[in-house]
């Protein structure tokens, strides 16, 4: 039984075949990257895993359990966290509050206890706070802890989004273009963090990324897509030298 399996996934939006018959498996502890030109269907695969859309056909299994068909908010409980290509943070809250919202699946208290802020709520809040602080330390966000997200620069927001995902305590982390919009230095930090996710935290990473130097640096395996279909699957080197992949990116070479 593999850790994560996508089986013959397909989805159509009206006439657009966004994803067609995509199958792959992710092993526990690896960094698996999906590449492909714009509109290839990469984000759509993430949306299928997040259960935002039901697939037209195919199924998704996580730790041997079929997740397609569950209610979307259940995905986080199973241990799958994601970041978004266009950053979806809670804008009018501080960085710390954003991370605390990430602790939602670890909630232990009932509404009536919260209204009275009874001792169990206080204890749970302190535990959430500690968990959030661990992630803040891990990603060096101390400086921004109490800043409002709306005022932060793009590069920092990207890190905050990763931080929020990590506070959920995921087993599988989905990253949609983690380095897009970052300068080379920030991009380099991001590469280090992805490596640390795998090595230090033991989190499996499923990532979509355009920056090929980052892809080759951190990925164990790469899947190339074009127009919703699988082109090639293998190590980063194998995929990058695959003639069909080169053709998809550069057009037909005569």
């Amino acid at each position: 039984m593999s850790f994560f399996t996508a089986e013959n996934l397909s989805i159509q939006f009206g006439g657009v075949k966004a994803v067609t018959n995509v199958s792959f498996e992710v092993e526990r502890g690896e960094v698996f990257t999906i590449i492909g030109p714009n509109g290839a269907g990469k984000t759509t695969i993430f949306n299928l895993i997040s259960l935002i859309y039901p697939p037209t056909s195919g199924r998704i299994l996580f730790e041997g359990q079929e997740i397609t068909g569950l209610a979307p908010h259940r995905v986080a409980n199973l241990g799958i966290a994601r970041t978004f290509q266009n950053i979806e943070l809670f804008e009018h809250a501080t960085v710390l509050q954003n991370l605390l919202i990430g602790r939602h699946t670890h909630r232990t208290t009932a509404l009536w206890q919260e209204l009275l802020f009874l001792p169990p709520v206080r204890r749970a809040e302190i535990a959430h706070r500690e968990a959030a602080e661990k992630v803040i330390d891990f990603l060096d966000l101390q400086h921004y802890r109490d800043s409002f997200v709306a005022g932060l620069p793009y590069g920092v927001r990207k890190v905050v989004e990763l931080a929020r995902a990590l506070t959920t305590g995921p087993k599988l982390q989905l990253l949609d273009e983690p380095s897009s919009g970052l300068n080379p230095e920030e991009s380099d930090d991001m590469a280090f963090w992805i490596e640390d996710l795998k090595k230090d935290l033991g989190i499996t990473v499923l990532m979509v990324e355009h920056d090929m130097s980052l892809v080759s640096r951190v990925s164990d395996r790469v899947l190339a897509l074009n127009q919703g279909e699988m082109l090639a699957l293998g190590t980063s080197r194998e995929v990058q030298s695959d003639p069909r992949v080169i053709e998809a990116y550069l057009g037909k070479q005569e």
């Binding site: 908010h73 986080a76 943070l89 809670f90 919202i101 939602h104 209204l115």
Partner: protein, 358 residues
Amino acid sequence: MRFYFKTDYAQDVRLFQDGVQVFWYVALAAALLALPVLLPEYLIGQMVFILIYCIIGAGMMLLIGYTGQISLGHAAFLAVGAYTEALLQARGVPFAVSLSAAALLSGVAGFIIGMPALRLKGIYLAIATMAFGFIVEEVITRWEHVTGGNSGKQLKQIDFFGIAIDNDARFYYLCLGLVAVIFLGMINLMRSPTGRAFVAIRDSEISAQSMGIHLARYKTISFAISAALTGVAGALYAHKVQFISPEQFNLLVSIEMATLVFIGGLGSFHGAVFGAAFIIALPQVIVFMKDYLPTAIAQQTGLQPTIFGLILIAFLIFEPLGIYGRWVKIRTYFSLFPFYRGGMFRRQKAYMKSDRLK
């Protein structure tokens, strides 16, 4: 300017940040308790209305300011609370029980309406809740043998565990106690997981869902709590005015309740208090101003709604953060003097937001 040095996570979880803050809240409480001695009876009566509107404001703030869901039908819950109170009091039910029943019944009504209505968003939600408001108004008009229809219902004074609430000072203390309890409960809620889930839904539904938040459940909880608070306010209001009839719960009241939070300042319970004070004070100010206006204007009917509307538009354009936002800016100005920068509260547009996933 004050700096906070924290050495313990418990400090982050505390209700008040430091002794200075505690001092100000104690001072405020003392001033509020002394008010009936200091102010004439008429103004205490107005204070009672402000306190009742504070409870409404807390409910609307929770729903609109914190959960990001609009309602233009909340006068219906005010009506449920008011009529529950009137009917139960007439049957000799003690006040503590009838007030709880008013809260419970409005809360349940909110839960039942919230479940289908909150699948809708924005303008559709506004219209659906507005329709609900019309339905309730129509029902209480037609259901004459229970509600008295257009001839309304009379209420007697409150008997609070043997104490007759027979003057405005006593009514004021009763409301003050309820406001304190309710606001404390709401502030507690907002610093707990449920409150944070509300904020998450307001700012990004798709992220909230990916954090494991059940959108429909939390929206409905928010709607039900806000309806229950409105029900409590309705029961108190019924006693304050001593006579209720359907037109006291029409669309204009719903709109007034919703605008309260926009004027006060979205996303803070301080804003609810400022908004409540504003809504009650404005008509008084207008009446006062009439003496100084040219008669042609002063005699116009609809002067008050017009001024109200103009002020609302002015707020939305010039001070979207409401009265509370203005207050924070002034306070920051003084605490940083002379280092305040003009653009300090302006939001950075450092990114592009896509609506691809919506």
